[in-house]
Point group: C2
Chain length 171, copies 2
Amino acid sequence: MERIAVDMDGVLADTTEQFFLFDERDFGRRRTLEEVIGKPESVAFPKGKEYVRTKDFFRTASVVSESQNILNELNRRYEIFVVSAATEFPQSLLEKYEWLREHFPFITWQQIVFCGSKTIVEADMMIDDHFKNLDPFKGTTFLFSQPHNLLQNEGRHRRVNSWKEIADILL
Amino acid sequence: MERIAVDMDGVLADTTEQFFLFDERDFGRRRTLEEVIGKPESVAFPKGKEYVRTKDFFRTASVVSESQNILNELNRRYEIFVVSAATEFPQSLLEKYEWLREHFPFITWQQIVFCGSKTIVEADMMIDDHFKNLDPFKGTTFLFSQPHNLLQNEGRHRRVNSWKEIADILL
């Protein structure tokens, strides 16, 4: 059974929307896509570095559209690991665990990986929104579109714009 | 640079001693080695399954002898990842992180992996006290002696009885 490493932030959890919401709360208006496109979130959102260390930032994130039902389907046909860079923000560890239990109850504790560098991950495929994770990965890569990666050429990675596109390819 | 995946419980953290201490507190006398040898901790210690879910069980564990200075040396010559099966006991996530920060401050967040199944780990070598982690691993394996694994033949794994032995082999 082929193994897929699935990223959490920006792929399952809509952290992009969290940045928009936290930012709007602080600055009084919703930032436009034009303002943030192509920029790391820590640059696009002036207080972005603070938000990821804020209690409940990860716990209250909404779920990326259609990720639940499609990951559930993938989970029957592939060996799924949810791999999240979490050790940089230790307060996020339990929040991310609880978030997964709530929104992806079919993902068991055996299938969860909280790490710093994803170079340790051995899998056949990786779905991620960050080049830093996809570039060193030896298997098949899918770049999940998020504003911060939209201006960069996808290079050797196949860009996917939605979970529906992932389903079309993998199911 | 060769990569080594180093287990935490029973290799860096003296969880065996924690089981002995918690058990003695509950049953009034220290269990003998003969009573626990060759048994999973959940069997050797009647309340073992409860202890691993008890606050501070992991946070207050003592450090395995000589692991600090020798891992520090290894960290200069190898790419080290500390890989701990932690997602089964989510309360342990932050405790384990804080324990590592206190006792192994030279291990960065990029080098920490909290997972369930270690089959996801790609490395050249693995140091672990559990066959379930070493058996599926493709690289070089070291079985770190603990009472629960002492009666089993080490099979294809090389048994190491102390960090000093690890140093003699790898440094």
